[in-house]
Amino acid sequence: MGQCLRYQMHWEDLEEYQALTFLTRNEILCIHDSFLKLCPPGKYYKEATLTVDQVSSLPALRVNPFRDRICRVFSHNNVFSFEDVLGMASVFSEQACPSLKIEYAFRIYDFNENGFIDEEDLQRIILRLLNSDDMSEDLLTDLTSHVLNESDLDNDNMLSFSEFEHAMAKSPDFMNSFRIHFWGC
C-alpha cells in the first residue's frame, strides 16, 4: 500500500471529469484521495493502475456479493486506471440516469457473458444473494422459474437486454438499491 505522488488535481482535469461523469466535485476529489492512498509509490495518478484485489477491498465493495463481477465489468485488462474507477463511481452515483444503470446491471448479472441472462446466471445470482450453504434445488428452480415467468416475454428461457430493461423499468427498488455513495470519505 504505497502512496502515489501527491499531486493535486489540476483545475481543468477536475472540470473535465465533472463534465464527463455524473459525479459531483466533492465526490471526484474524494475518489482521488482514496485512489492516491492505494496506488503504488512514485507514480503519477493518471498513469498508475490498481489491481482487481485492491479495488475489491475498497469499503464500498468489500461486502458486496457481486464485487468480482463489478470489477470484471469496469476494469480493462484486469487493472483499474483512475478513469476506470471514476467511470465505475459515476455509474453507481445518485445522479446517473436509469438507462446507464440498467445497461451496466445487465452486464454485471450476465455471469457467463453470452449476452443473455439465462437460467444458469439466475441460479448463480440467487446463490450469491442468499449466501447460504443449505440451498435446496427446489427453492432455486422455483425462484428461477418465477423470475422467468415474470420477465421472459418471448419464452426462450433467457432474458435479453430489452426484457431485462423492461423488467427493471417496472421495478420500484432498482434505482434506490443500485447506487453507492460512500467511496472513502
Partner: protein, 616 residues
C-alpha cells in the same frame, strides 16, 4: 482545420457555465436538507426500511412548519403588529347584536398568586394562565384590523387559513405518494411484490459493513422463502372444498364481529372517560390531591393510550384463526390498528361535541350550545387537543427512557439469566412507530383550528421525537431480520397519513358548519356558525360576481358538473381497460414472434445440413 465561429464558441461556453451553476446550486440545496447526514448513516446501518421512517418524520416536521407559517402570516402577524404598535393600525370590535347578553358572559379566572403546582397543572392542561393567551382560539376576539389603506377581515382570514392548511396538506401528501402509486399501477401482477424486483434489485449496494451485509443476506433468505410459502398457501386456498370455504367464511364473520365488539367497547370506554373528565374538571383545585387532579384532566388521553396498547395484541391473536395468507394477515392487522388509533380521536371529539350541544335548561335554545359549562367551547376543545399532544410526547419519552434503555442494559449485563436472553434486544417496530406519529399529526390537524399555535408545538414535538428515536435506535435496537422494503413503506406511510387527514376533516367540517360559534370569545362572535363568514363576505361582492358565485353553488350547476366528472372518469377507466387488453395482445405477439424465429432457425439449420450432405 475547422474552428468554431465566435457565436458557437460563446454558446458552448455559456451552456457549460449554466450547467456548472445549476450543479453548484443543487449541491448547495442538498446541504440545506435537514438531517441529511443522520438519515444517511441510519440507512447505512439499519437499511432502507427504517430510513424511510425517518424521512417520513422529516417530511412531517416540514409540513407542520409550513402550516405554522401560514397561520402566523394570516392570523398572528396582523394581531401582533397592532398589539405591539409596530404599524399604525387598530382593532375593530363590533358589539354583537341579536344575541342574548347571557351568551356573551365569559368568566376568565384570573388569580393573583399562583401556587407552583397549579402552575404546572396549567402548563400541562392549557387552563389557568394559558387560557387567554395566543395559544387558544378564545384570545382572538377581534372582528377586524384597520390598517391605513384597507380593513383586514380577521374572521374570514381565520377560516381561510384553516381551509388553506388542510388543502396544502392534501396536495403535498398526494404529490409525494404519486410516485409510489404510479409504480403500483404499472405492476400488473396480482401479488404484492414481484420476484424480479427482489432478485435483481434485492441487494442494497450501499451496504458497507459486514454485519449489515449478513443481516441483508438473512433478510433476503427470509423474504424469498416467505414469498414461496405464500404462493403455496394461495394455491392451497384455491383448492379448498366448498364446505371448508363455508366454514372459514362463517368463522371469519364471527371473528370480525368480535373485532367490532372490541372496537365498540374501546369507543364506549373513551366516551365514558371523556364525560367523567369533563364533569369533574370544574371542581376546585384545592379540594383535590395533586395526582388526582392530573389524573382526571388526562383521563381521556390515558384511556386512549391504554386502548391503543391492548387492541393490537388482541387483533394479532384473532387474525391467527382467520386463516389468511401471511402477507394479507400483516396488512389486515395494520389496517385494523390504524383504524383503531385514528377513530379514537374522532370518538373523543364527537363526545365533546355532544356534550357541548346537549343541555337540559333553556340556555341551549338561547345560544345554541351549552353556555353554562362551555362559555368558550372552541378553547376547551383546543385544550383537549393540547393535552392529547403533550401526553403523547410524554408517553413516547417515558417509553424510551423507562422501557427501551433498561431493557438494553438488562440484556447486555444480565445476559446470563435465561429470561433476558429469551427476551432479547428490541427491534425497531416500524408500523407502531408510524402509527404513533400519524396519530400525533391527526391531533395537530384537528387542533390547529382551535389552537393556532399547535402546529408550532407539533413541529417541536416531532423534532424531539426524531432525536429520541434516533438515539434509541442507535443504542438499544438491533436490526430486525424481517425488513420492510422502502418502496412499500413510503406508499404505506403516506396512505395512513391520508386516512388520518380524511378522519381529521370530518370533525372540523361538522364543528365549523353545524355547531354555533361561541358568542363570548373568538373572531366569530357576530356570526351564527363559523362557516357563515363566507356567505356574508360573498354578499358584499359586486352583483355580477354574487350571481356567479350563487350560480356555481346552486344545484342547477352542481348536478351537471357531477355527471360530467362521472363521464370523464368512466372514459379513463375504459381507456385503461383497453390499454390492458393491448398489453396482453402484444405479449402474445412477442411469444408468437419468438416461436416463428425458432421455427425459422430450425428450418435454416436443416437446410444447411441438407446442403452439406448434398455437397459431400
Amino acid at each position: 482545420m475547422k474552428y468554431l465561429s465566435e457565436w458557437d464558441q460563446w454558446k458552448r461556453y455559456s451552456s457549460k457555465s449554466w450547467k456548472r451553476f445549476i450543479e453548484k446550486a443543487r449541491e448547495m440545496t442538498t446541504h440545506l436538507e435537514l438531517w441529511r447526514e443522520d438519515i444517511r448513516s441510519i440507512e447505512g446501518k439499519f437499511g432502507t426500511g427504517i430510513q424511510s421512517y425517518f424521512s417520513f418524520l422529516r417530511f412531517l416536521v416540514l409540513l407542520n412548519l409550513v402550516i405554522f407559517l401560514i397561520i402566523f402570516m394570516v392570523i398572528l402577524l396582523p394581531v401582533l403588529l397592532t398589539r405591539y404598535k409596530i404599524t399604525n393600525s387598530s382593532f375593530i370590535l363590533i358589539p354583537s347584536q341579536d344575541v342574548d347578553i347571557q351568551c356573551t358572559v365569559y368568566p376568565i379566572s384570573s388569580s393573583g398568586l399562583i401556587y407552583f403546582y397549579s402552575y404546572v397543572i396549567d402548563l400541562l392542561s392549557g387552563t389557568g394562565f394559558l387560557e387567554d393567551t395566543y395559544l387558544f382560539y378564545g384570545h382572538y376576539t377581534i372582528d377586524g384590523v384597520k390598517f391605513q389603506n384597507f380593513t383586514y377581515d380577521l374572521p374570514l382570514a381565520y377560516l381561510l387559513s384553516t381551509i388553506a392548511y388542510l388543502a396544502l396538506s392534501l396536495v403535498w401528501i398526494v404529490k409525494r405518494s404519486v410516485e409510489g402509486f404510479k409504480i403500483n399501477l404499472i405492476r400488473s401482477e396480482e401479488h404484492f411484490q414481484s420476484y424480479c424486483n427482489k432478485v435483481f434489485a434485492g441487494w442494497d449496494f450501499c451496504i458497507t459493513n459486514r454485519s449489515m451485509a449478513d443481516l441483508k443476506h438473512s433478510s433476503l433468505r427470509y423474504e424469498l422463502r416467505a414469498d414461496l410459502e405464500e404462493e403455496r398457501i394461495r394455491q392451497k386456498i384455491a383448492e379448498r372444498t366448498s364446505e371448508e370455504t363455508i366454514r372459514i367464511y362463517s368463522l371469519r364473520l364471527f371473528l370480525n364481529c368480535i373485532v367490532l365488539a372490541v372496537l365498540a367497547a374501546c369507543f364506549y370506554a373513551i366516551y365514558k372517560a371523556t364525560i367523567f373528565s369533563q364533569e369533574h374538571m370544574k371542581k376546585e383545585i384545592d379540594k383535590m390531591v395533586f395526582g388526582e387532579n392530573l389524573l382526571i384532566l388526562y383521563l381521556p388521553s390515558i384511556v386512549i393510550t391504554l386502548a391503543n396498547f391492548i387492541t393490537p395484541i388482541i387483533f394479532a391473536k384473532i387474525i391467527h384463526y382467520e386463516d389468511y395468507s401471511p402477507g394479507f394477515e400483516i396488512r389486515l392487522t395494520i389496517l385494523r390498528c390504524v383504524f383503531m388509533r385514528l377513530a379514537t380521536i374522532c370518538v373523543l371529539v364527537f363526545t365533546l361535541g355532544s356534550k357541548i350541544t346537549s343541555c337540559d335548561n333553556y340556555l341551549c335554545e338561547l345560544c345554541g350550545y351549552n353556555q353554562k359549562l362551555y362559555p368558550c367551547w372552541e378553547t376547551q376543545v383546543g385544550q383537549e387537543m393540547y393535552k392529547l399532544m403533550i401526553f403523547d410526547l410524554i408517553i413516547i419519552l417515558a417509553v424510551t427512557l423507562f422501557v427501551d434503555f433498561p431493557r438494553k442494559i438488562l440484556v447486555t449485563y444480565c445476559s446470563s439469566w435465561k429470561l433476558f436472553q429469551c427476551w432479547g434486544e428490541q427491534e425497531f417496530a416500524i408500523p407502531d412507530n408510524v402509527l404513533g406519529i400519524v396519530y400525533g399529526q391527526t391531533i395537530c390537524w384537528i387542533g390547529a383550528f382551535f389552537s393556532p399555535l399547535l402546529p408550532a408545538i407539533a413541529t417541536l414535538k416531532f423534532i424531539i421525537i426524531f432525536y429520541v428515536k434516533e438515539i434509541s435506535l442507535l443504542y438499544t435496537c438491533r436490526p430486525s431480520p424481517r425488513q420492510f422494503r422502502a418502496s412499500n413503506s413510503n406508499f404505506f406511510f403516506l396512505l395512513v397519513l391520508l386516512i388520518g387527514l380524511c378522519l381529521a376533516i370530518i370533525p372540523l367540517t361538522i364543528s365549523m358548519a353545524r355547531i354555533p360559534s361561541s358568542k363570548a370569545c373568538g373572531p366569530f362572535t357576530n356570526f351564527n356558525t363559523t362557516w357563515e363568514v363566507v356567505p356574508k363576505t360573498v354578499s358584499t361582492f359586486p352583483n355580477s360576481l354574487q350571481t356567479l358565485v350563487y350560480g356555481i353553488t346552486s344545484e342547477a350547476f352542481a348536478v351537471p358538473f357531477f355527471m360530467i366528472i362521472c363521464l370523464i372518469m368512466f372514459y379513463f377507466i375504459a381507456l385503461a381497460g383497453a390499454h390492458k387488453r393491448v398489453v396482453v395482445q402484444l405479449r402474445e405477439q412477442l411469444n408468437l414472434e419468438s416461436r416463428d424465429k425458432r421455427y425459422l432457425i430450425q428450418k435454416l439449420t436443416e437446410a444447411q445440413r441438407d446442403l452439406r450432405n448434398r455437397l459431400d
